[in-house]
């Protein structure tokens, strides 16, 4: 029997991601929970962080939650409205790119933090076709820190991706560097069960934090590949302050929190 949690899985995921965002970071955000994490960080722990969209808007005033990165809601009161070529250049350029932290989703992730957002099954004749890279491959190529949001399921934490859309540590060790990529890619994975990071030397995913009520073993059961859980500790649950700000200031209508 688990204790009744004063927060939902979506809420703890949002707070865990928000804590990764530092003051002054430029937060590359999609929609849904990633947007909420960016807003939570700005309201809680990183007031001088800046929300940034691949479509070219920087520091928009989000009076309403956007439902897409091309939602007209992101064009209002921005510092600048530009275009795709400018926004990706901002990340490809190390001067600004090194300050970017991205929040990404995926259908599959492997032990090196590579992501698949393209298809399940054969690329040319897939069982399920997804939307494709969008800006995911670009961001994962360019910026030093990416948060991946995932549901923790065996079919999503896989030994081998059906398609490698966005680069993490590729085949581990120095393979990312050998391919010609900068240090970067997914640096932290936030799921409904815990928080995973990557070993600096091997590039392999390890369990850093498990949520209250979740055991490292349960996380392993939901992961197809083997993962080091030896250094994992229990996550500090969301504080009352964090939850209050998240609920009252970031998504009062629970459009995303549900």
């Amino acid at each position: 029997m688990e204790t009744i949690q004063p927060y939902t899985p979506k809420e703890i995921m949002t707070i865990m991601a928000a804590r990764e965002i530092k003051n002054g970071d430029i937060v590359f955000s999609g929609t849904g929970i990633s947007m909420l994490a960016a807003m939570a960080a700005k309201n809680i722990n990183a007031p001088e962080s800046v929300i940034f969209f691949e479509t070219g808007a920087i520091d928009s005033l989000l009076e309403e939650l956007p439902f897409a990165v091309a939602d007209p809601r992101i064009m209002y009161w921005a510092a600048s409205n530009s275009r795709l070529t400018d926004s990706f250049a901002t990340m490809q350029n190390k001067i600004t790119g090194d300050k970017v932290i991205a929040i990404l989703g995926a259908a599959q992730i492997d032990k090196y933090g590579n992501l698949n957002t393209t298809c399940i099954g054969d690329y040319f004749s897939p069982e399920i076709r997804f939307s494709g890279s969008g800006g995911g491959c670009d961001v994962a190529s360019f910026v030093p820190r990416c948060i991946a949001f995932m549901q923790h399921e065996k079919r999503k934490f896989v030994e081998k991706l059906d398609y490698l859309t966005s680069p993490g540590q590729l085949e581990g060790k120095n393979s990312r560097k050998k391919a010609g990529l900068r240090p970067g890619g997914v640096s932290v994975v936030v799921t409904n069960m815990g928080v995973m990071r990557f070993d600096k030397d091997t590039g392999k995913m390890y369990l850093d934090k498990f949520y209250p009520g979740i055991t490292p073993e349960k996380i392993l059961e939901n992961t197809e590949f083997n993962m080091d859980i030896s250094t994992a500790t229990r996550a500090d649950p969301p504080t009352q302050t964090e939850l209050k700000i998240l609920r009252k200031d970031c998504d009062p209508q629970r459009l995303i929190l549900g």
Binding site: A68, V69, F88, K94, T118
Partner: protein
């Protein structure tokens, strides 16, 4: 692509004149925003087929064109359509059912490919995609590429940085230019010569236009030259790039036009629901596309109520507190 003083023609005529079976085409906008939908529906009504479509993240327009069977080849970064369809449904089905040839890129790669075309260059470099299957999985075979002069021989090429370790890059990916036969965009304002002013994000519209051999602009407002000349800084597209101008109010509906109207989330959901089922989708098309004469007829079927519901607030540029489901 002329400097004539008046390029205004009806949309039907513009599509007849510039979009042919087999044309290489790109459309403006991004997912649920500023897609040239009136033009897309007219292409579908004219049953133009075998299109080669270049897309970064053109959501609604892309899925309608694919759903209507107009597209046989697709180069794309992202097929999603906001909350209604995180993956465009007809797009996914066309791939799952082997109905189209397709090739995947990233959004930056596709944007750069248009930019290379706009700059008159054979390629541009990027640091994106090294080590991924975007580089290694080609949707168009080498044989097909060789046999078709309109398709570049190689998908992407990786080279060592010719300037040693300059800027810290050891390798770069070269992405080949795209020069579509025709690009269609929808803008807030244009004048009769074709100068355009886009309000809000321009996505990759400017690059797509400049890369293209012919350009059709549909516009919310057809304004006097004088109105645009008063602020040249806001005119991202000078007339020298434009072939035809079509005045089509609500021409991006059901996608959004900043400062004018929001996306119609209800319409998009209806489209997504219908797209899941072939019979429903045929009914949808018969009612909204084939069953009407033009965009005005389409808007009549949609009804004034929906148009009123999405009207933009002048302060924010979108429909404040609109019910979005």
């Amino acid at each position: 692509m002329t400097n004539s003083l008046n390029k205004v023609i009806p949309l039907k005529q513009a599509i007849e004149q510039y979009v042919k079976n087999g044309s290489h085409i790109s459309i403006g906008g991004f997912t649920i925003n500023r897609n040239p939908m009136a033009a897309v529906y007219e292409i579908i009504r004219q049953k133009i087929n075998n299109l080669h479509l270049y897309a970064h993240s053109n959501g609604t327009g892309l899925d309608e064109l694919i759903g209507a069977g107009c597209v046989s080849k697709l180069e794309i970064a992202y097929g999603g359509n906001g909350k209604a369809a995180p993956t465009c449904i007809r797009f996914a089905q066309a791939i799952q059912n082997n109905e189209i040839l397709f090739e995947d890129y990233s959004n930056y790669m596709m944007s750069l490919r248009f930019m290379a075309g706009a700059m008159g260059l054979p390629f541009l470099p990027t640091l994106s995609g090294l080590g991924t299957e975007i580089l290694t999985k080609w949707g168009f075979s080498r044989a097909m590429r060789k046999s078709d002069p309109k398709i570049v021989d190689e998908k992407l090429i990786v080279i060592d940085n010719p300037f040693g370790n300059w800027t810290g890059a050891s390798k770069v990916v070269l992405v080949p230019a795209i020069n579509p036969d025709i690009t269609i965009i929808h803008v807030q304002k244009a004048d009769a010569m074709g100068t355009c002013s886009i309000q809000g994000l321009s996505f990759a519209d400017i690059e797509q236009v400049k890369a293209s051999k012919q350009v059709i602009v549909t516009c919310e407002k057809l304004v006097d030259k004088e109105e645009l000349r008063q602020n040249p800084d806001l005119n991202q597209i000078p007339f020298i790039h434009v072939s035809a101008v079509c005045h089509v109010p609500l021409g991006a509906y059901p996608t959004a036009v900043f400062g004018h109207y929001d996306y119609d989330s209800r319409y998009l959901r209806k489209f997504a629901m219908a797209a899941k089922n072939p019979d429903e989708f045929k009914k949808y098309q018969d009612k909204y596309i084939y069953g009407v004469k033009d965009h005005k007829g389409f808007l009549n079927v949609v009804g004034q109520k929906r148009i009123d519901a999405i009207k933009a607030d002048p302060r924010t540029g979108y429909a404040v507190n609109m019910k979005r489901d």
